[in-house]
């Protein structure tokens, strides 16, 4: 009668592809017939499925969140986000001078940058507070607006440095997130060995990614232009003129596809290095982590996830989330387990605002992977 046995590895994900796909398809159908109102229930059931198949030292994680909490968060977001947005986008253009309405819209978008970061933090806080292992709750301390302000500063530095600050920003964000993360009453820590760079092992793959993607950005339109010129010179007279009018569309689509594939391939080594590096710096009660993400396997999993998202118009995004979670967990190791008997229940207060803004910005593509 035992459908699935608990894995023996320290970390493992026992989710079966078709089991998750079936739930994702059911959720997609209900989401469509409820005009997306089912999305809170879909998200909750998918998290429950993914969490319960996540095993740590033979015991599963547990997701205790409910759809009604998410729905309540959405209702909270109605006056705090949607009504201002409706005013700015619908009423202001009619009721105000055009210039002022435009400034208001611009201000809204500028304010959205830190707001998205804060929303991400709130979302993580909610998810952690609804995650238990062996009955002990996880949590996220710290200020969402503090994280938002810091993120905004790093985003500015990334922009000013043409992206070269990205590895540092990624580590900074991870540090701020993880140092505020709690398992019960134990904080996670982010420890850098003395004399080591926090970005150790990340700069070379980042430089390779940056340079190779820059080359692709420049070359792709040129190649597309050359192919287009060749086709129109060689076959120009024999091709239906109506078909020729679609050439610019094909060109733009072709360049977009090349950019997408280029992005995946160029940044895969950096992403694998960054994930491994962040895991290696995490500790809890003296225990260390080791992640063995590899470029090619990560590339394959990410590309497969993208395909699911693109061809299902986002409806099967949870499957992509599942593939990523399973990939990470099946490659994660724990060195020197913590003293679990010493870890007590969390004292952080529960997050009760749901994921209101996270839903508004659609930050998690329907799953919310911590």
């Amino acid at each position: 009668m035992t459908a699935e046995a608990a894995p023996t590895q320290t970390f493992a994900h026992s989710g079966k592809f078709f089991n998750v796909l079936g739930l994702a398809l059911k959720n997609a159908g209900l989401t469509i017939i409820t005009l997306t109102m089912y999305r809170f229930w879909a998200r909750t059931s998918m998290r429950r499925r993914l969490w319960s198949r996540t095993w740590v030292m033979g015991d599963p994680l547990e997701y205790t969140g409910s759809a009604s909490e998410l729905f309540r968060g959405f209702l909270i977001a109605l006056p705090t986000f949607f009504l201002p947005a409706i005013f700015i986008f619908y009423i202001a253009p009619l009721a105000m001078e055009g210039v002022w309405a435009a400034w208001l819209t611009f201000g809204f978008y500028v304010f959205s940058v830190p707001m998205i970061a804060a929303a991400r933090y709130w979302m993580r806080r909610y998810q952690l507070s609804r995650t238990r292992w062996r009955g002990i709750r996880l949590g996220l301390a710290g200020s969402a607006w503090g994280f938002a302000a810091a993120s905004w500063g790093w985003w500015v530095l990334q922009s000013l440095s043409l992206g070269w600050y990205t590895p540092a920003a990624r580590i900074n964000r991870a540090r701020l997130m993880w140092e505020n993360t709690r398992f019960g009453d134990q904080p996670f820590q982010f420890i850098v060995e003395h004399g080591e760079s926090p970005q150790k092992g990340m700069w070379l793959p980042f430089a390779m990614g940056w340079i190779s993607f820059a080359i692709i950005v420049v070359i792709a339109p040129v190649i597309a232009g050359v192919i287009s010129a060749y086709v129109s010179m060689t076959y120009g007279e024999s091709i239906d003129p109506e078909l020729l009018t679609y050439v610019p569309v094909f060109l733009v689509l072709g360049v977009a596809v090349i950019y997408g594939i280029g992005w995946l391939v160029c940044w895969a080594p950096y992403n694998a290095a960054a994930m491994n590096r962040i895991a290696s710096m995490l500790t809890i009660d003296g225990a260390r982590f080791k992640l063995r993400a590899k470029t090619l396997s990560l590339l394959g999993v990410t590309a497969l996830g993208w395909l699911f998202i693109i061809f299902s118009l986002g409806l099967l995004a949870p499957v992509a989330g599942f593939l990523q979670v399973r990939y990470v967990l099946n490659r994660l190791e724990l060195i020197d387990p913590p003293r679990f008997a010493e870890i007590g229940q969390s004292v952080l207060t529960d997050s009760n605002a749901g994921e209101s803004l996270g839903d508004a910005f659609d930050l998690d593509m329907g799953v919310g992977v911590i």
Partner: protein, 371 residues
């Protein structure tokens, strides 16, 4: 029965004995005995190979876990815990309520508000109408040019329109003003401030004054029946609905922004039919044959076929097929009526914006097959 128990105070499980008694789950840990009523319990496992039980409220973090090969025994004493609801899965009632809520909202925003769009549009403050008109004019100015030589032609068309409106007692007759614009496309459309724009290309497309007059009558009817502002209300309702229901994904914003742009000033099929009928009423009352607008509908259909659907003029871009509209107009046509403009007036109108010269046989109008 062997099981494991977590007390919710430390991150460890300890081995315990449990007894699935008829009313209660009995947990024996050493000498200590803990009893949980089945009615207070929920599942925390989502069928992952274990049965994990927890107390519902408050959730103290206590858990009892045992292998799921005992599910028959559990089902015998606590069948509720074997149902999906115990795992947190919503029932049919919830799904039904969501479907009802979603479609009720859709009905309210996409049917109810459009149905009440006329009174809502009329209640809209004048400054909103002016603001929308300003946005529309900025679009018009971006795609058309002012004609320096069209003053006399403009006056002729406005006198003609006023004559038509006076016969039918159109309430907005004092406020409506027709402007001829220099553009690269044939078009005519009404704006929220009761302006009607007619492009020189449209004038060039007409082969007789009655054809152009029919178009003007159609646009006047849109204004009299407040179709423009009704359409804005409808589109904003749709925008708000999509924004709220779909979670701020931006589709709603796009619709609302489009609604105050020229591209959004497209009417529903009902509005178009309404404007057709009312416009022909004007013509009948003014003693102008509807044969002109019938020929114009045919001309637009030919144009649409030649240029592709994307280039159909706004006036005729909505659903009713132009051929059918032409037939309807032709059925009402009367013979032997005088043209709506004199030859001299028509010649002046045609020459607006450096337009069609009557001596030039290559005008677009002459390229179009006549009725």
């Amino acid at each position: 029965m062997q099981a494991r128990y977590a007390d919710g105070r430390a991150a460890i499980y300890t081995d315990v004995e449990i007894d699935l008694a008829p009313e209660k789950l009995v947990i024996r840990r050493g000498d200590a005995v803990i009893e949980w009523d089945y009615a207070d319990l929920a599942r925390a496992d989502d069928k992952n190979g274990l049965i994990v039980l927890k107390r519902r409220k408050p959730d103290t973090g206590e858990r009892v876990a045992f292998a799921d090969w005992y599910d028959d025994q559990l089902a015998a004493v606590a069948p509720r815990l074997m149902k999906s609801r115990a795992q947190g899965v919503e029932g049919r009632f919830t799904v039904g309520a969501l479907v009802t809520l979603a479609w009720s909202l859709a009905g309210l925003f996409l049917v109810g508000i459009p149905y009440a769009a006329d009174p809502m549009a009329r209640a809209m403050p004048e400054k909103y109408r002016t603001q929308i008109a300003d946005i529309s004019w900025s679009q018009v100015n971006a795609f058309t040019a002012h004609c320096d030589d069209a003053d006399e032609a403009t006056q002729i068309l406005n006198d003609l329109a006023f004559r038509i409106m006076e016969r039918s007692q159109v309430p907005e007759r004092e406020a409506i003003w027709i402007t001829i614009a220099d553009a690269s496309f044939p078009n005519a459309f009404a704006l929220p401030d009761n302006s009607i724009i007619v492009t020189d290309e449209l004038i060039g497309m007409a082969d007789s004054p009655d054809e152009l007059t029919g178009v003007l009558a159609h646009e006047i009817a849109h204004i009299e029946h407040n179709h423009i502002m009704k359409n804005v209300v409808r589109q904003i309702a749709a925008g708000v609905f999509f924004d709220v229901v779909f979670g701020g994904a931006g589709a709603g914003q796009a619709i609302a922004i489009a609604s105050v742009n020229l591209a959004g000033l497209r009417y529903s099929r009902g509005d178009e039919s309404d404007a057709d009928l009312r416009g022909m009423d004007y013509l009948d009352a003014a003693g102008i044959s509807t044969g002109g607008i019938a020929r114009m509908f045919d001309r637009f259909e030919d144009y649409a076929e030649a240029e592709g659907a994307g280039d159909i003029p706004t006036m005729l871009s909505t659903h009713p097929a132009s051929r059918e509209r032409a037939v309807a107009a032709r059925q009402r046509a009367r013979e032997g009526l005088a043209p709506s403009l004199t030859d001299r007036e028509w010649r002046i109108v045609q020459q607006a914006c450096g337009g069609a010269d009557l001596t030039n046989e290559d005008t677009p109008a002459n390229d179009v097959e006549q009725d």
